[in-house]
Symmetry: C2
Subunit: 563 residues, 2 copies
């Protein structure tokens, strides 16, 4: 389609800790160069930058200026790495974590950049994994159920504390001055496009999945008023904005952004998108039944389906939410690589790190090697993967992790393997929810950094009893963003065509090993029993522990003030 075989696009993937830019050839998807910029402030979950003001538990903020730094550094570096002539670049596309929300003024200035709000936590970006709006989410769910709001089943029956309404309501209730000053409550996915184009276009994907826009309407003012009288006009005054479709052209690259990036002014900038959702076409998963799991710090599952079904505990279903013309289903696991990383950092003795260093491998690799040497069940453990709560199918961020079965003979590799398995059981729970609701899953495609762990991949194949393939690109989201840029620039007619030309699947296919499948069936039964016991109300100990933790942290905080 592309008239110029040398035409290039740039995809920029904004993750939890860094942004990655990749330069891709429009013709065949060849990735010519890439570069990563770490966010200067990372995840702000303990103290505000500057003042050092302490944050309560479950908060997770970011600093929007960190995102612009990615445009100024990673994009030019990727161009340089590709040895590319910027003049060949015809478009740029971006994807972002979601639901990550920026409170802004009328012109898009983040409120935290105003002097009056620099020390106000609610003026900062609320990262997807900010989980402190759970009381607001509880209220939304309770009320929606009572009122039988028609949109509730589209979200598996539960609205997440991570999403636009819960986070917005938290701002109103805890920081009314910030709420009053906030003209737009903007997905970071759209904020970054606003910075690139000087135009605010709201993307249809997050508006649907995170903003409760269904069949063209948001939750009603009556609903919002019943949540809180001050919230009545939330949609009209803070949220609503003209939409752009995925792969659409949000605008042309502004002069300012051209200067930041080194790209030509006026080239196509694609409508904002979400990291997980852009990855599906990058993995050529544009047809029903092929579930893409993007496995990184957390896992996002996306799949297209021909029909609208209500899947209990899914994150959401949105018409054209992934690919135009199909229903896009989304589910997720709040913690995956995060949990492995936490364990390696905080639960592994020095001898493992030393041994790994001596061999020139990572501690993850060493633990994987040791764990791979075990038969299924040999460690005697079963764990629940809820260290960051549960996004699907329980949709409860007050849940927490569990390990059952430790003995004095338990070693780090045992616990590590149990955590790998727990996340696989979590994925199987989601697959069973889809299949049970009439949205069959026939194949797993894995994208994201964790696909390099072969043991993990085999465990997923064995636990789910599904063939598993991996995406060909090591930078799936950035590639997906580049593909959307190509569509926005008119270099491909639509995302299906772009997927066919530019997407790729890896050569390795993991097939279930029957003996392991049988053994994991039994361990999965244990997981599900514990899942339902701790997750469905039989024993709400996790909720009580978290409540007590907040009380105790408060006491301790006061004691420190007193002291």
């Amino acid at each position: 389609m592309s008239t110029d075989p040398a035409a290039l696009v740039v995809g920029v993937d904004f993750g939890t800790l860094s942004g990655r830019a990749v330069v891709v050839r429009v013709d065949d998807g060849a990735e010519l160069g890439s570069a990563v910029t770490d966010f200067r402030h990372g995840v702000v979950d303990r103290r505000l930058p500057g003042s050092g003001r302490e944050l309560p538990p479950d908060w997770a903020l970011q600093v929007p200026a960190d995102y612009l730094e990615v445009l100024r550094t990673a994009v030019p570096a990727a161009l340089a790495a590709a040895g590319a002539d910027p003049a060949q670049v015809v478009g740029i596309g971006t994807d972002f974590t979601a639901c990550t929300m920026v409170p802004t003024t009328d012109d898009g200035t983040p409120l935290c950049e105003l002097a009056e709000f620099a020390d106000e936590p609610h003026a900062y970006v609320k990262l997807w994994r900010h989980h402190a709006a759970q009381p607001q989410a509880d209220r939304i769910n309770e009320l929606a159920e009572k009122r039988r709001e028609p949109w509730l089943p589209r979200y598996g029956g539960l609205i997440s504390s991570e999403w636009e309404f819960a986070k917005g309501l938290q701002v109103l209730q805890e920081a009314p001055a910030v709420y009053a000053a906030m003209r737009h409550w903007v997905e970071a996915a759209d904020w970054i496009v606003w910075q690139l184009t000087d135009r605010y276009v709201r993307n249809a994907c997050t508006a649907g999945y995170k903003g409760i826009l269904q069949d063209g309407v948001y939750p009603s003012p009556e609903f919002c008023r019943e949540l809180d009288p001050g919230f009545e006009h939330f949609v009209g005054q803070k949220l609503e904005h003209p939409l752009g479709q995925l792969g659409g052209r949000a605008g042309g690259l502004s002069a300012r952004a051209a200067q930041w990036t080194g790209l030509p002014e006026g080239i196509a900038v694609a409508v904002g998108n979400v990291d997980a959702h852009v990855t599906a076409p990058a993995a050529q998963a544009v047809e029903p039944g092929r579930l893409v799991a993007i496995m990184g710090t957390s896992t996002c599952h996306v799949m297209s389906g021909a029909a609208l079904r209500e899947v209990p505990g899914m994150c959401g279903v949105v018409d054209g939410g992934i690919v135009p013309g199909l229903w896009g289903y989304e589910a997720g696991q709040s913690g995956v690589g995060d949990i492995f990383g936490w364990f390696v950092e905080h639960g592994v003795p020095a001898s493992y790190h030393d041994a790994a260093r001596e061999r020139g491998i990572s501690t993850h690799e060493l633990l994987t090697e040791l764990a791979a040497d075990q038969a299924v069940g040999q460690h005697g453990l079963v764990a629940l993967d809820w260290h960051s709560g549960n996004r699907s199918v329980l949709v409860d961020h007050e849940l927490s992790g569990v390990v059952v079965g430790q003995t004095l003979a338990t070693r780090a590799e045992d616990s590590y393997r149990a955590l790998l398995e727990a996340t696989a059981f979590g994925t199987r729970t989601i697959i069973e929810a889809f299949t049970g609701a009439g949205v069959p899953v026939t194949e797993l495609v894995i994208a994201g950094g964790l696909l390099k762990n072969r043991l993990l991949m085999q465990i997923y194949a064995d636990v789910t009893n599904l063939p598993l393939s991996t995406i060909g690109s090591e930078q799936g989201p950035a590639l997906g963003s580049a593909m959307h840029a190509a569509v926005a620039a008119g270099a491909h007619p639509d995302i299906r065509a772009a997927a066919a030309a530019m997407g790729s699947l890896g050569q390795v296919v993991y097939r279930p090993i029957p003996a392991n499948v049988a053994a994991y069936d039994e361990l999965y039964a244990e997981y599900r029993t514990l899942h339902d016991y701790f997750g469905r109300g039989a024993n709400d100990v996790m909720h009580r522990l978290k409540a007590r933790r907040r009380v105790a942290a408060g006491q301790r905080g006061m004691a420190e003030v007193d002291a």
Copy 2:
């Protein structure tokens, strides 16, 4: 009472990893010198010494020659440290872990010292924490309940896999040749006295608590035959032997043992005793209501009571089992310091060890310091302390550890504190069982190495809501053994008099802090809910995980042989 104010006694305490000798003045209990010898082979739980033969899970053996080395090295070293004239020593007393069993020939030679059995695991000492005889214990309990054996309630309704019958039955069923060659199935507590005196005297304490001797009789041949036809004459042929009472004189020190120890030939050797039980008089706990918890790798609880009561899940009640004239009650926790040690060794990152080293303190001390800085419940965790199974009140060694509530914010000090608390909850569970059965507990006295941890002591006071004092001696069991030696030598008329003259309590008393008591009441309720869920049949996942672990380890073993 002692006619010679300079008269000395030696107490030797055989623990799990080492033996400690202490030289004590008979008159006032002054501890003049002590020495420790580590067991050369420690706990043999992976491979047999010599052949390197691999042991199955849950095995724990020892090498009897290691015990003699303590007599040859620690006793002379203690005498030297005391600057004592051996001629002043009038008696020696010993205490041992229990139930730790030695299979011997007619003359007391351990079977593992015979060439034909050197590579046979069943010919070695089965340490108290050998937990591989659970199937045998299950069978004993099932049959005893069916036959309504009158002795069963004396053991809280359950016979432990750690004890003489279960371990003996395992030898019969798994190594009939060893069983046939075994003339005596001897408590290590008595075997060491046999080595000192050349006479085998069976002590009344372990015969009652571990050997099911009640009201003068053992389980019947009919019962044993129904367990296994080959087991019919177990009592008559392997177990039964004339008894000695606690504080009695087993015999005089043999010439051979005098040479080993440097002590005068012919001095009084006290009847064998158990580490926990000798500690009660050392802590002056010879009256009802004062519960002594000897807290080391595991915790043993001993208390005397005026009346015979049946306490569910206690280890046992034995007439005169601690102090003549009172019913001696015993309960226990299979893992305490063991669990803390396991966690520090296998679950704490290098940064903590480094920080501790820099400050010249232990990692335990550093973690305790960090944990002490938290309000109750601030870590958001609750754990079950069953890493070594549960000895009271569930009596089930197939149970295992649990941690609930981990998040990505969980740090090592959080988990450490949760484990400290879990063991305190375990002690409270035992106290409530006693009190509920009409054996009131009014005061806690702590002995053993863990009493040095002030945070742990305060947690125990807060969790149990009882005043808590600590023993004055740092080597309670060895002091208690020395007191029994003094009684055996006639230097004190009985153990009460010896306790009054030689025992001691520390100056520190920990009193419950009301706010903590209230908070821990709530956390304890969580513990009890999980305790009953995992421990009383609602979810037998731990049993299934252990069964699967054995199967998987077996597969792996075969795979290695195949490879």
